[in-house]
């Protein structure tokens, strides 16, 4: 199993606040990696460093290297916009573009990046909605507003939108925390399906979800990576005592 992403000595700051300290981690390709930890431990910041979204916040800083397929995305001549096309992101609260239809939402990434051919856009929209397990539910209503769907459907729409740009990696920042249990189950099942073709990294504060959905788990605490390993090993016999205490619900 090759490593898709290599994180080397990653540090991140918000002004003087040292949010991530010397993170070293390898994310294997075409697997689901979960990042868990108590609130404020830096997990959202960590994934935002992987698609160069962290630096968009004013007075935010990053140091260290993040290698995707061996190339440092923080390198001198790397265009952050290009990075974001390879590394897609799905957010905690579903955020479809409200003034656009379902079709336009999925097509947004393509159209606003210059794609003009109607046939190609049609094809990508269908494929993406299919992969996001939403095609059957909306295929007759593609012109409806994106905001008229239910919460779970909206989140799948956002996933389809991210898939349409054909990324290699998908980052998910607590994708189910705004959803009801049934919608959550559908998304978790979708994550397992997508795993065959994409490298997925999901941040979650729900340990059981991490246990259900991921192949590898990293435990973050106060900005440091405490433990990283196969999910089945971490959840049955963690090596670090802090991990053990967090998983057992003794703090956090």
């Amino acid at each position: 199993m090759a490593d898709k992403i290599g994180i080397e000595n990653l540090n991140a700051w918000f002004r003087t606040n040292h949010v991530l300290t010397e993170i070293n981690m390898s994310i294997p390709e075409r697997n689901v990696t979960a990042v868990i930890g108590p609130s404020g431990c830096g997990k959202s910041t960590l994934i935002r460093c992987l698609n160069r979204m962290h630096e968009l916040v004013p007075e935010a800083r990053v140091s260290g290297r993040v290698l995707i397929d061996g190339v440092d995305i923080y390198g001198r001549d790397v265009d952050p916009v290009q990075v974001r096309r390879r590394v897609g992101m799905v957010f905690q609260k579903p955020n479809p573009f409200p003034t656009m239809s379902i079709y336009d939402n999925v097509a947004a990434g393509l159209k606003l990046n210059g794609e003009r051919k109607r046939s190609k856009i049609d094809e990508v929209v269908k494929k993406s909605l299919d992969m996001a397990a939403l095609w059957d539910e909306v295929k007759d209503d593609l012109g409806k507003s994106g905001a008229s769907l239910s919460g779970g459907q909206q989140q799948r729409l956002c996933i389809a939108r991210a898939l349409a740009v054909e990324p290699e990696v998908i980052l998910m920042d607590e994708p189910c925390s705004a959803l009801d249990p049934i919608a959550t189950a559908k998304i978790e099942s979708l994550i397992r399906t997508l795993r065959e073709n994409y490298t997925i990294i999901t941040v979650t504060h729900n340990m059981q979800q991490a246990a259900r959905v991921s192949d590898f788990t990293g435990f973050l605490y106060l900005g440091k990576l405490i433990e990283f390993g196969e999910t089945r090993q971490i959840f049955s016999n963690p090596r670090n005592e802090l991990t053990e205490r967090y998983l057992s619900g003794r703090f956090g």
Binding site: M53, R86, F91, M100, G109, V165
Partner: protein
């Protein structure tokens, strides 16, 4: 409930009703002047409004004339102002909302707020000095420029506020798709804010249509149909001004008629705004 509780309860109810009545009274006091103005203007002008009034040219005071050229002039001046002011105002607003979170943005905002507070007659004077004197004549262009100068800070601020209301999560979603910042600003933020921007635009048009002071010495006035943008034109507010202070009864009546028309114009624009943004996405809803 014992007697003490019952008394307290009754007293509370009485106070409640009294406050409600007082508030209602205040609403009446606020609304009555507005309604009386409308009534007065409408009642006084209904007799005079007819087809020839709306389409004819002004006549000497012994005949009934028309406000056709005033309506045409208002249209020309407002259109000119919009052509100049709207693009500048809207793009300034977008810039302030998307890129203006720094000292430069702060200064621009400050200047815009000052400009918005400058008396309109002073703006007119500015247009007079720079355009009328340079061209050595009064013109619709000068009037348009004066009105544009009033329009720009208003449109810039309302556009900025509308675009700022767009939740940041949408911008993040677009950026995460690998869309560049300026495209995100234009196609996502502005597109989402479009009903707010449109409202701001239409209300600013309504506002400048009624401005009188700057037009007095820029567009000036004209007894005939407008022939060019570099010529003085007649406008509704100026016509009202000139006719209302004249010694002729007929002209007083015509002034009231023109006033009524101006009010109808404002009403129409406001209704148009409501119609145009019905059912659209509003971030504040």
């Amino acid at each position: 409930m014992n007697k003490v509780d019952r008394d307290r309860s009754r007293r509370r109810l009485a106070v409640d009703r009294l406050m409600y009545f007082l508030c209602f009274l205040c609403v009446l006091i606020a609304v009555v002047p507005l309604l009386s103005v409308l009534y007065y203007v409408a009642a006084s002008s209904l007799a005079i409004i007819n087809f020839s009034f709306l389409t004819g040219l002004p006549r000497p005071p012994d005949e009934y004339g028309g406000i056709g050229n005033a309506m045409q002039g208002t249209f020309i001046v407002v259109a000119t102002a919009s052509l100049i002011g709207l693009p500048i105002g809207v793009f300034a607003g977008i810039y302030l909302a998307e890129y203006g979170n720094n000292r430069i943005g702060g200064s621009i905002r400050f200047v815009a707020d000052i400009l918005a507070g400058v008396p309109s007659i002073v703006v007119g004077l500015f247009a007079y000095s720079f355009i009328v004197l340079a061209m050595k004549r009064f013109s619709a262009l000068a009037g348009g420029v004066a009105l544009a100068a009033i329009m720009i800070p208003i449109v810039a601020r309302t556009t900025e506020e509308s675009v700022k209301l767009v939740p940041n999560t949408l911008r993040e979603a677009a950026l995460a798709l690998g869309i560049t910042k300026w495209r995100t600003a234009l196609y996502v933020a502005v597109s989402t804010a479009r009903s707010g921007i449109l409202t701001g635009i239409m209300l600013s048009i309504a506002r400048i249509s009624g401005e009188t002071a700057p037009l007095l010495f820029t567009a000036f006035g004209n007894r005939y149909w407008a022939v060019g943008i570099d010529q003085p034109v007649e406008t509704l507010p100026v016509r009202i001004f000139n006719y209302a202070i004249a010694p002729y009864d007929r002209w007083h009546a015509e002034a009231l008629g023109a006033a009524f028309l101006l009010i109808i114009l404002m009403l129409a624009i406001n209704l148009l705004v409501r119609f145009a943004v019905r059912g659209r996405y509003s971030p504040t809803r």
